[in-house]
């Protein structure tokens, strides 16, 4: 059933592109950062679907690295750019 994976991946890519609008509009800085966070998760899902659809195990490794690093930029934002005491 390979149409399943490719269609699902396409839907997720559309979700990413739609989320780009929020980055451009976002009234606060956090909205943009949250959209980028969502892209990370969508990217993980796309990679997982493609790994099954294209039968390519290495994509699971790439999804693992995505998952590990997805939070890094958001944490940096929350701690440094937006929060944090004055230094």
């Amino acid at each position: 059933m390979s149409w399943l994976y490719s269609t699902a991946a396409l839907c997720l890519l559309c979700a990413i592109v739609a989320g780009l609008w929020r980055i451009l509009r976002g009234p606060t800085a956090a909205d943009s950062m949250l959209a980028a966070q969502l892209f990370g998760t969508c990217g993980v899902a796309i990679l997982l679907l493609l790994s099954k659809g294209l039968n390519w195990v290495v994509l699971l490794d790439i999804a693992l690295v995505f998952a590990l690093l997805a939070a890094l930029a958001a944490v940096a934002f929350a701690l440094r750019t937006w929060g944090g005491t004055e230094r």
């Binding site: 059933m1 399943l4 994976y5 699902a8 839907c11 997720l12 559309c14 979700a15 990413i16 739609a18 989320g19 609008w21 929020r22 606060t28 956090a30 909205d31 950062m33 949250l34 959209a35 966070q37 969502l38 990370g40 998760t41 969508c42 993980v44 899902a45 997982l48 679907l49 099954k52 195990v57 699971l60 999804a63 693992l64 998952a67 590990l68 997805a70 939070a71 958001a74 944490v75 934002f77 929350a78 701690l79 937006w82 929060g83």
Partner: protein, 100 residues
């Protein structure tokens, strides 16, 4: 085996709308706290169903273990970072949206 495969397909088909709804929530909800709420639904439930579906269709236990690990990592990372963002937003005194 075909039953598991079809069940996996159903799970994936359930999971993708959660992602789409997370994006819609990100675009349409009125303030940052509600958008955070929508975002975490996509992360937890959406990815969870997609991983469940793929795990049911996987051919080796190795793959199932990796899929579950990836889901766990996304859960940990995204929930921690969303918590930190919400905390920073509260300290910046951003008011939650109210119906008035």
């Amino acid at each position: 085996m075909a039953f598991l495969h079809n069940l996996g397909t159903v799970c994936i088909l359930i999971g993708v709308p959660f992602f789409v709804s997370g994006t819609v929530g990100l675009l349409r909800f009125p303030d940052i706290y509600t958008r955070l709420h929508a975002l975490t639904k996509a992360d937890n439930v959406g990815l969870g169903f997609v991983v469940l579906g793929l795990a049911l269709q996987a051919e080796q236990w190795n793959t199932v273990a990796r899929l579950l690990l990836i889901w766990l990592l996304v859960l940990i990372g995204s929930s921690a970072s969303c918590h930190l963002v919400a905390r920073a937003a509260l300290r910046k005194k951003i008011q939650p949206w109210s119906r008035s």
